[in-house]
């Protein structure tokens, strides 16, 4: 059996200009989209709380939302996951702790009523309230006061006497949102009719840290692979491989952008895998170009490249095809981020194959032409439009 019966003779290089033009356009559109609309960041990067619940009886997302709101949980998004009869839902809350502006204001008034209290400061992003009292207060009293004002308290810390000895500093740490989900949904029930299957909570600082680390990882791996390619092949192959890599990463990022699927750590893993995989196809073709350059000495580079691409076309399609085939199971049975991962990989494999042919190789020709023009000689591939060999 053979996928391409005869040797193909497509003029890939001749069509490189429209291909690069369209690719550049799509890439720019995606970058603009990321800058203006932005990704749908998951809790990994945005910080926040996600709770997955499974009810033991049929219930709709709207009902779950209503129950949550009745229990005092506002700003919560409820989403059905899996098949409808599974009754599983994802609840997403932006806030990390129970301390929001409204609660903080109430808690502040309550604390100030405790007596000679000054400098009440609520740090919403970290879910803490700091204050100073001229007289010693008991931890129990503070906890009760804040809790009665509507904010769950995880801990009250005594920070000690301040420097001038004019008061004692206290810190109130608010409870997390996941806590509240359980109590809000459970309100008025004898025993819960749901099971808490998963909780993801990421603090705001950690989220920022994770995002920076993810971006750095992407850059590092691109640079490392570029160095390897430049070292193993000629230097002029490097930029082509890099641009093809960038193209693929942006395209896959585009998948997350357009589909509005959650952009999280798994997405970064998918992008990094694409970086490693994208260069695979490119290398197969580069290897062949190098081999054919020795074989067809004297032929213009563009022509040699076209021969190489045509010769390897069958295997380019096959290798992409087998990898895509292995992903089918994940696409059928994967839920949530694993489905997204498989889908992103599929997109990456497709654009990776395309970019190896239409981005990486033409750029090599272009660089060769530039070098030739600089040296004042006729570029190998510049003057004659390539004819299919």
């Amino acid at each position: 059996m053979q996928i391409l019966k005869n040797k193909t003779n497509f003029d890939f290089i001749g069509k490189r200009k429209p291909a690069i033009f369209i690719s550049t356009l799509i890439n720019l559109a995606i970058l603009v989209g990321i800058a203006t609309v932005g990704f749908n960041y998951g809790v990994d990067f945005a910080g926040g709380t996600v709770v997955e619940l499974k009810f033991n009886h049929p219930v709709t997302a709207a009902e779950v939302r209503e129950r949550a709101q009745k229990g005092g949980l506002h700003d919560v998004s409820v989403q059905n996951i899996g098949s409808a009869d599974e009754n599983a839902f994802l609840l997403r809350m932006g806030g990390v702790t129970q301390l929001n502006e409204e609660n903080a204001a109430k808690a502040k008034t309550a604390i100030e009523s405790l007596g000679s209290v000054r400098n009440v400061y609520a740090d919403l992003s970290n879910g803490i309230i700091n204050f100073r009292s001229a007289t010693p207060l008991t931890v129990e009293l503070i906890k009760k006061t804040v809790q009665d004002s509507g904010t769950g308290v995880q801990e009250v810390r005594v920070l000690g006497e301040n420097q001038g000895g004019t008061g004692i500093d206290y810190q109130v740490v608010a409870s997390g949102m996941a806590d509240k989900v359980f109590s809000a949904l459970n309100e008025g029930l004898e025993k819960p009719d749901f099971e808490q299957r998963r909780v993801d909570y990421v603090g705001p600082q950690v989220g920022k840290q994770l995002r920076n680390r993810g971006v750095m990882a992407l850059l590092y791996s691109m640079v490392a692979i570029l160095i390897y390619v430049a070292f193993r092949f000629d230097f002029k192959f490097g930029p082509g491989a890099l641009l093809a890599m960038l193209h693929d990463v942006i395209m896959v990022a585009g998948y997350y952008l357009v589909s509005r699927r959650e952009f999280n750590l798994t997405a970064i893993a998918a992008l990094l895998t694409i970086v490693g995989y994208s260069v695979n196809d490119t290398i197969v073709i580069y290897d062949r170009i190098r081999e054919d350059m020795a074989k067809y000495k004297g032929k213009p580079l563009a022509e040699v490249i076209n021969i190489a691409i045509n010769d390897t076309l069958g295997r380019t399609i096959l290798t992409s095809g087998t990898t895509a085939l292995s992903l089918i199971g994940l696409l059928i049975f994967g839920v949530g981020e694993i489905f997204d991962f498989a889908m992103a990989m599929l997109v990456g494999i497709l654009v990776g194959t395309y970019s190896s042919v239409y981005i990486a190789s033409p750029l090599t020709i272009w660089l060769d032409e530039r070098a030739a023009a600089k040296e004042g000689r006729h570029g190998d591939g510049m003057k004659h439009e390539p004819k299919a060999a």
Binding site: M1, N126, A178, G329
Partner: protein, 590 residues
Amino acid sequence: MDRGWWWKFGLIVAVTLGTIWFLIPSYYSLAVMDRAQRNDLAALQARLPAWAPPAKYRLNLGLDLQGGIHMVMRVDTKTALQKRTERRGQQIATYVADKKLGEVTVDTDPEKLQLTLTAKDPATMDAIEKDVLATFGDFKRVNRNGATLVLSPDDTQVNRFREESVDQAMLVIRRRIDKWGVAEVDVRKLGTDSIQISLPGRSNPEQAKELVGTTAQLEFRMVDDTNPQVFAQMFQANPPPAGSDITVTEEGGFPQLQSKSREALLAYTEGKVPENRQVVTECIANPLKKNECSSYRTFLLDKFVPLTGESLAGADASVNQMNEPEVNIAFDPAGAREFEKLTEAGVGKRMAIVLDDNVQTAPNINEKIGGGRARITMGRMGARSHDEWLGEAQTLALVLKAGALPAPVTVGEIRQVGASLGDELIKKGGLAVLVGLGLVLLFMGLYYRKAGLIADIALVLNGLLILAGLAFFNATLTLPGIAGFVLTLGVAVDANVLINERIREELSHGKTAKAAVDQGYDRAFWTIFDAHVTALIAGFILFFTGTGPIRGFATTLIVGLLASLFTSIVVTRVIMTYFVHGRNAQSVSV
């Protein structure tokens, strides 16, 4: 077949058998054992046949697949540093006043971590500067302008303090988790200021957060020794229920109750002591396992807490002239006054140092102690080695510091997965692997016929090698890891596609089967090698930057790529060679 071929063939057979042998503990752990015992290494070891590899080489399931809690705690070293700088500032002011060098006011800049000393009389500043810099070696001069002197802590001191803060927080967290009896916990440092905690099988994240997230509570409380026989009498008048292991032990004239279970002791004594007294236990460390308690002993303490760790300024372990380890503690001025009052009233009594409801030590008060400095000698050496004895003093100092310098610990990340969800994910992941693998195997067999079947054999071996590799490195299999597994198999088969395509091409050039196979492998080798190396680069970077499940993905990818180099190049070539050389075939089924 030449000798070289037989060697390679022998190697492949050995690797295959070894791989299968190595997966025995994993098979037992996942398929034979009860799921409740999944993490119990001792039980697994007992169940394994004698000839199997040790139980520790079993495939671990990540928390996302077996259920549990993963937490990252951030130690707020910045706040701790600010507090410390402020406290040192006060100490400097007191020191200057005590030594009658002059009178200074000290201001702290919390952002820059700087102290500004201003002398009332500018003339005294030269002497003050000299003396203070010599005495407080952990500070260096930033600048001096007449009557004002700006100091900042030494960088190496700051770094050491940061490290210590994280170590202290880790110690406190470990002890707390031990107190709760959570088995198979993993507490480790993450980066410079974070601590990662894995609690397999736990399901309540809020409880876990409270467990590790609250600040350590260090208390100094008086031991009620008015009736030294209180526990012995309680035991006689009211014997514990049958089956209880509570016994009376005596040390230094104070009988205590002892049991393996802290809960049993507290339940037994409940309601048997006066309102204003409380029974608190001491942990008797297991001599074999440092972080575990082999048993507990009771103390009767005043409920009233006169002094807490907030008043403690520092603690250090040292050795005295008698070569006995001791712990030196220092209180801040307010604490020093309170401590003096306490010791004055309590001469001859014992004072308990309690951390998180655990009595750490209960030294005797020999005399009234003023000046806010006290020494705790470390009891008798007993059966301990001198190093262990000193080690205990160091641990106590660390514990005291943990209470003294509560670098606030905040929750950075919590990820909890319920056990039922984990089971479902394993099932779905397994199906995804089977479908993906099945499709690839089928395609290869149909498309390349015999050469495809050879690639299929290599692919299955590759899969087994990945699992064995993960088990060998004690890596964990996570949900993203399963995705990585599938993907790696897809990439591994690419190598065989490249080889087989190349063989077909060589055949079409009219080469003999033997020459085509040799050329096919030789020419495709570097392409495959380059492709694997680039993927490995991405894999390693993902491994070093990722955490938790993502790290599991990277590990699977790396192990898989390494295995694939072996299976898709060496294994398939040896089998291929058998068919074209061994049978002297003129054609090859590609």
